[in-house]
């Protein structure tokens, strides 16, 4: 029988919703599912993890060194736990991408990155070339399969489970060569870009940091998260964590509104799984219109205020 260990992603207080998506992938593989919570104090996170559907046990690995989720600290502990499992999974977020390959290398395993679909317990679909090719890969079963889960391809599992929570430990030595200094996090109070049902993104066409206020205002009206193209981030209009695309966040909202974004391959990779794409652009030939379900040609500074008025009428 498959025994699957999912590494929980969290910030020390809350379980990140990406974890529930990795559990959905584990359910598709099938077998007994455990979740590992590495933390200084795991209680709150473990409580949420225990509710995820189909999870048998939540393992709390509590050590002071686990407070900041550093890959160098976590990977040796993960590698030790792995010997009891056939599969090791983490979400394909910056956390999972950082820590899991390090654990895979310690285990001598070639990792599968970004599982989109489970064909069978050893065979998976994953994207390459910015999503322009979907490859089917078969991973050797021994010693175990290590994989990250492309969060945009999976729905979060339900939260009706009752897993047992147990303390676990490893005697792994933790290196001192890597030290956490600080995290400058965005505290906008807006919905989280990666899990929001609606996202409004602005591109270079928005023109400036000040102008981005129109994007924020419109997003707030829709109850949407705010995203951006790389050009907008590079130009300093918005912080880096808003970047959507091949090298930013890959998202799958119900509604994606691209405003003043041309639709480069690298941007489209990040929004392919959105249910409905709306594009607002003054250039009728912008490539974004080829993928948009609903396109509107025009000046964003005129259209957005009009749209807000229309929404107010509803």
């Amino acid at each position: 029988m498959n025994r699957i260990l999912v590494i929980a992603e969290h910030d020390g207080k809350k379980l990140n919703p990406a974890t529930a998506k990795a559990v959905s992938c584990a359910l598709a593989i099938g077998g007994e599912i455990d979740i590992a919570v590495f933390a200084a104090d795991a209680a709150a996170v473990a409580g949420s993890a225990a509710k995820l559907k189909g999870v048998k046990r939540v393992l709390n690995i509590e050590r002071a060194e686990n407070a900041h989720q550093l890959a160098a600290a976590l990977a040796p502990q993960i590698a030790k736990l792995a010997k009891d499992y056939t599969h090791l999974l983490a979400p394909s977020t910056t956390f999972g991408k950082d820590v899991l390959p390090r654990a895979a290398a310690l285990l001598g395993v070639q990792q599968v990155s970004d599982i989109m679909k489970v064909v069978d317990a050893h065979t998976f679909e994953r994207p390459m070339y910015a999503g322009n090719a979907i490859v089917t890969v078969k991973a050797p079963a021994m010693p175990c399969i290590v994989a990250t889960v492309r969060t945009a391809s999976w729905q979060a599992c339900s939260e009706d489970g009752h897993a047992e929570i147990t303390a676990a430990g490893t005697d792994a030595a933790i290196p001192q060569h890597t030290r956490f200094v600080e995290l400058k996090a965005d505290v906008s109070g807006r919905p989280d870009l990666q899990s929001a049902a609606r996202v409004v993104s602005g591109g270079r066409g928005v023109g400036s940091k000040e102008n981005f206020a129109v994007i924020y205002k419109f997003a707030d009206k829709l109850g949407a998260a705010v995203g951006a193209s790389r050009a907008a981030v590079d130009a300093g209009f918005v912080p880096n964590d808003l970047q959507v695309g091949q090298t930013g966040k890959i998202i799958a909202p119900e509604l994606y509104v691209a405003v003043g974004i041309s639709g480069a391959i690298q941007h489209l990779t990040g929004i392919k799984d959105a249910r409905t794409i709306v594009a607002i652009n003054k250039d009728p030939d912008a490539p974004i219109f080829q993928v948009a379900d609903i396109g509107l040609v025009g000046d964003l500074f005129q259209i957005l205020p009009e749209l807000e008025q229309e929404l107010d009428k509803l």
């Binding site: 910056t94 390090r102 322009n132 089917t136 890969v137 200094v181 981030v233 090298t247 509604l255 219109f289």
Partner: protein, 248 residues
Amino acid sequence: MKILVGIKRVVDFSVRVQVKKDGSGVNTDGVKLGINPFDEIALEEALRIRERGTQAEVVAVSIGPAEVQPQLRTALAMGADRAILVETGEVLQPLMVARVFHELVKRENADLVILGKQAIDDDSNQTGQMLAALWDRPQATFASKVELKDKTLMVTREVDAGLETIEIDLPAVITTDLRLNTPRFVKMPDIMKARSKPLQVLKLEELGVTAAPKLEVTSYAPPPQRVGGKKVEDVTALVATLRQRGIL
């Protein structure tokens, strides 16, 4: 100090890659190839460390067929001191690439390895992390700022939550994010100069690296196509369509 930089040749970022009809791979015939964009950034960062006054030798490393030599020559023209080609006809997966780099790190006694965060062909995002594990040294992935202070590095990382700063001891591995720097353009005289810089060719078999386990790629398929392209006349029509679709 010695800095190794990864230079992978990939299909140019502007090419919309097509899957072959028989699903055996992607079409690369006549397609523009170049240095992985993240690797240009890696090299640029190494050069800047040297230019800021640290005594450093910058070595560009590529693993691939003999045909990647032009990319190594470009790296030399940008300013790398020398280049190493580990020649193989096989396409290596990240764990094997990391093993090769680990062997080179030992041979070269490297202090710092700068790789891209991901190769834009396989999009694996693994090699740097794997090398750091095998080498038992720190990793600073997705770097957007690097400050060298004696024997330590302060690295700012682009993470989902924002910007994280970590301090790591050398030797170490860094992987680059796009905003770390803007790579310089190569000038004509530098291309001439690069011709006489050393480019060492090692056969993969000579390195004595144990073959790593691999994923077997069984087929390639094009992604499902989105059928977009519909346009509406005005804002009223846009809202109406969104309502029809049950979104508003």
